[in-house]
Subunit: 164 residues, 2 copies
């Protein structure tokens, strides 16, 4: 499978919420997201890496900037109910992604993306991958620079597209 | 956009590695993954949620079971070089995913998946989402049960497919 990174996309209309020190037992993720979906808030990325500390997990997710305050309130209430820890949020983020086919079978594509962001001194706050897309959350002020360096790194000519 | 969850897939040939307490500065993700891709190890999921502690981040990723030992050795060496913390690994995991279109615009799909795993008392160790797929890492012994409850929850008739 030849790797074809066909484009770079970005989304500035996003914000991040992280709920920390969640008891790592069945049912907690459902408890966090049920009130979010009941409120009709559309969630883009949901990320849980396995955490280092025994028995506790962090859950991060992204919502449109307009829903940030409401989602923060919901999650702070839930955190108390389920005995989790502090809730952190950051509305000043953007997501930049490279899209293409066959990326999963090539470990080098993600490394190339991380390398090019690092050379531009852009800090990566969140990472999420799928077969057709690798996304990094960065400081919103770095969006244009990130899109340009990714464009160059992958030799793309076309104008980057903003995600819908 | 109507949500159409069209299938459930699973992958038992996977293992998880987490490197904790990484200095959250530009360049660290590139330092972790360069030797992995140089060794030709194919990485499936890469997950970085934003961590709670100031200035430190955890990075988790999955590799085929056959590459687990080698990847653990590489990452333990890197962790020392970049001043990160302990490395945790778990080769006894599986990934279960629901696939479909239009999922991103419906917050309820992920919640429904988490709810059905929780009712079967299956603990979710990692979560990663994209527009067409929501993946959960679970204990490998729960794979068949997870596939069955997800099948039922989303009213799917077809046999689940194993990921290639
Ligand atoms: C943290 C959360 O994912 C928990 N492990 C659950 O299964 O719901
Ligand atoms: C943790 C790691 O992602 C770091 N923030 C980087 O940009 O490389």
């Amino acid at each position: 499978e030849k790797v074809v990174v066909s484009g770079v996309t970005y989304d500035k209309n996003t914000s991040r919420i992280t709920i920390t020190e969640i008891p790592d037992i069945p049912g907690m993720a459902a408890k966090v997201f049920t009130p979010i979906s009941d409120a009709g808030i559309v969630v883009d990325m949901i990320i849980q890496g396995s955490s280092g500390e025994k028995g506790l997990a962090n859950l991060s997710f992204t919502v449109p900037k307009a829903d940030f305050e409401e989602a923060m309130k919901i999650v702070e209430k839930i955190s108390k109910e389920i005995g989790a820890g502090p809730v952190h949020g950051d509305p000043n983020i953007a997501k930049v992604s490279i899209v293409g086919v066959g990326m999963r079978h090539h470990a080098g594509v993600a490394t190339k993306m991380f390398n090019s962001l690092s050379q531009a001194n852009i800090n990566i706050m969140m990472i999420s991958t799928s077969e057709i897309k690798i996304s990094c959350v960065i400081d919103e002020r770095c969006t244009e620079l990130a899109v340009r360096v990714l464009h160059d790194a992958f030799g793309l000519d076309k104008e980057p597209e903003e995600e819908g």
